[in-house]
């Protein structure tokens, strides 16, 4: 049976390879990559310093934590949920990490505890979403208030300074590459592999795509959503540690609009807000693209007063390009 089938489809298989390559080019990831390359080429030709190694590092380095957070966010959105409390959560976790460091705990703990705390807090959100069946947007809206209020109540905004020697994880450069960039790339690859090759990874797509079908395939929606939020919390924890250790001072506040930046990265990365589709590679690329756009606009000297408008237009265009691509694909599919 096996041999018969494989010999029978060999010409078809060849077509399949071609098709797969074509499909790869028609993906949102490809669109983003293209946009990124186009941006680097265009802006680089205007001002070659834009594509100098140092600036590329800056773009990647300063936004790696957004990309890492967007990985978790993408998983949450693919599962058909959303989390708008991420900004507050990052603020809380960064503060936990910094406070512990100043209090003299071992550095490893200062890096690990926030990740665990992220998993715990996010699991709590996940529990309410999954088992008490309250829409995630409502729960995370509530969590946003609770975390933010709680953070200010505890720290009253005192900055954390005098961080111990060696705490600055994000400033390490093993092999000459800044650690956040390594984290971003490795975590993206790991997450992408996990999403593709693990049962739970696929279950996320199943639950987001068709929850009823998933249930009947023996996939527990509740447990999957719990897991997604827990893992998401882990990524947020890592992002928070990168965030906290990047500078020598920790602002113990909630970074303004961070949740919107992260959600935008996921969405521009091709993660469907309706759930069921998207990849973490796309969201990472989108996080980089958004950062590169921000940087490039300064390089080409767009009036800073119009900077946000131009950013808005570019985001809209990326979204429209994605939509257009999907429409064309659908047409091809049905034709």
């Amino acid at each position: 049976m096996n041999t018969a089938a494989s010999t029978a489809v060999s010409p078809a298989q060849q077509r399949g390879v071609l098709k797969r390559i074509l499909r790869l080019f028609a993906s949102q990831e490809a669109v983003l990559l293209l946009a990124l390359v186009a941006l680097f080429v265009i802006v680089g030709s205007i001002n070659s310093r834009f594509i100098a190694e140092r600036n590329l590092y800056s773009i990647f380095l300063g936004n790696a934590y957004i990309a890492v957070a967007a990985i978790g966010m993408s998983m949450v959105i693919i599962s058909g949920n959303i989390d708008i409390s991420v900004g507050s959560l990052i603020g809380v976790l960064a503060t936990i990490s910094g406070s512990m460091a100043v209090a003299g705990y071992p550095l490893v703990l200062c890096w690990l505890v926030p990740v665990l705390a992220g998993v715990l807090i996010s699991s709590f959100t996940g529990y309410i979403v999954a088992y008490l069946k309250i829409p995630s947007i409502v729960v995370s809206l509530g969590m946003l208030s609770i975390l933010k209020g709680g953070l200010i109540a505890v720290t009253s905004g005192e900055w954390i300074t005098d961080l111990p020697e060696g705490y600055a994880l994000a400033q390490l450069k093993p092999l000459g590459v800044p650690l956040p960039i390594i984290f971003m790339i490795v975590l993206t690859i790991l997450a992408a592999l996990w999403m593709r090759f693990s049962n739970t990874g696929r279950a996320i797509y199943a639950v987001g795509g068709n929850a009823e079908a998933a249930r009947l395939s023996g996939i527990s929606k509740q447990r999957t959503i719990m897991k997604v939020f827990a893992i998401h919390g882990g990524f947020i924890g890592i992002a928070a540690v990168l965030f906290a250790t990047q500078l020598s001072v920790i602002q113990s506040t909630v970074p303004p609009n961070l949740e919107l930046t992260i959600i935008t990265a996921s969405v521009v990365g091709g993660v469907s807000i309706l759930g069921g589709t998207g990849t973490v590679v796309g969201s990472t690329l989108a996080a980089i693209l958004l950062a590169a756009i921000g940087s490039s606009l300064i390089f080409v000297s767009v009036s800073p007063y119009w900077l946000r408008s131009v950013q808005g237009v570019l985001i809209l265009l990326t979204v429209l390009a994605d939509l257009y691509r999907r429409k064309r694909q659908r047409k091809q599919g049905s034709g």
Binding site: K133, I137, V139, G150, T264, S272, S309, I315, V319, L323
Partner: protein, 335 residues
């Protein structure tokens, strides 16, 4: 009603009506509202005074005005994240048209409302004609419109409006804050339209099943276009009231408004999935949040703790309603 009920058979129905009312989300909210009113009133005698309450109404007018169309939009299963930015843009258009272009202030006000409607219409156009999901579209215009506001104003504020202009935001009419009249009028009209007209019915139908509504001959796209335009228009109106209240125009006005509004609407029982929700619920939601903020502040609770309380109330009220509904569902099956 006032007649002494002579019927034994009627008693249960009255009781069950009362119960149904109490179990409805509006009922739950009303109970929470009453309880918090009572508790807060016993904590401080400054709370339950006409002056304070009227003043609170002045402060909640903008959120209230924008929450009405947001209720419509969420009932259809959509969302509008750009309202805060539209508010900022409209305020800037008002100020710049008057100050920099020397238009009569009356005309500038009209222009401000038109700008709001136009900004909303652009959202509506892309959502209905191009098929961009509302969350993504308005996430993009959230950045875009704020950018326009910054660009048009060059980030400079406009001040020194004539005295009569302040009447709308700071004055009173028959002893009641002027903008409260706007809010009450808008509230009554919105509630009436939603519950009594073909338009309102269509919104529910669209929220439950857009295809079904389309196949029933309802002009789905036109209705959606209308509500997004209406949302922009109300943001424009709110900006005008807001500028009049704070006597200045800045491009960062309304930042974060969208989350306040969505929290109020969701607290008011409008399902984020569409199909259910009432203006009364939204009104209760807006009032509850405002009174909690005010009452807790008056009893000496700090702002950060207040935010936490609101987050908890948001989650719990939805939780209670869900619980009540599921109890109801198991008690009265197949009915």
């Amino acid at each position: 009603m006032s007649r002494v009920a002579p019927t034994v058979s009627r008693m249960p129905s009255v009781l069950s009506t009362a119960r149904r009312l109490a179990l409805s989300h509006e009922g739950v909210l009303l109970i929470i509202l009453m309880v918090s009113l009572l508790v807060l009133a016993t904590q401080t005698d400054r709370f339950l005074t006409t002056d304070n309450l009227l003043n609170q109404c002045r402060l909640m007018a903008e959120v209230g005005l924008v929450a009405l169309p947001m209720t419509y939009i969420i009932i259809t299963g959509g969302i509008d994240l750009s309202v805060g930015s539209i508010l900022g843009l409209c305020a800037i258009v008002l100020g710049v048209a008057w100050k920099n272009y020397g238009l009569p202030l009356e005309f500038a006000i009209v222009l401000c409302l038109v700008t709001g409607a136009a900004a909303g219409a652009v959202n509506g156009y892309f959502i209905t004609r191009v098929g961009v999901p509302p969350l993504i579209m308005t996430l993009a215009t959230l950045a875009l419109y704020r950018g326009f506001a910054e660009g048009v104003s060059q980030s400079r504020s406009v001040r020194g409006y004539p005295e009569w202009f302040y009447q709308f935001g700071q004055g009173e009419l028959f002893g009641i804050p002027t903008q409260l009249w706007f809010l009450i009028a808008a509230l009554l009209i919105s509630a009436f339209v939603l519950s009594r007209t073909v338009f309102g019915r269509a919104l529910y139908a669209i929220g439950h099943n857009e295809t079904g509504a389309r196949f029933s001959g309802l002009a789905v796209d036109r209705y959606k276009m209308l509500i997004y335009t209406f949302s922009g228009f109300m943001a424009g109106l709110a900006s005008f009231v807001f500028v009049s209240r704070v006597s200045t125009t800045r491009s960062d006005m309304g930042t974060g408004l969208e989350l306040d509004v969505i929290a109020a609407v969701v607290l008011g029982g409008t399902s984020i999935f569409g199909g259910t929700g009432t203006i009364i619920g939204t009104a209760l939601g807006v009032v509850l949040i405002q009174l909690l903020k005010n009452g807790l502040a008056l009893t000496g609770v700090k702002g950060d703790a207040t935010i936490m309380v609101i987050g908890v109330v948001l989650i719990c009220s939805i939780l209670i309603t869900n619980f009540a509904r599921s109890r109801q569902a198991t008690e009265k099956p197949g009915d």
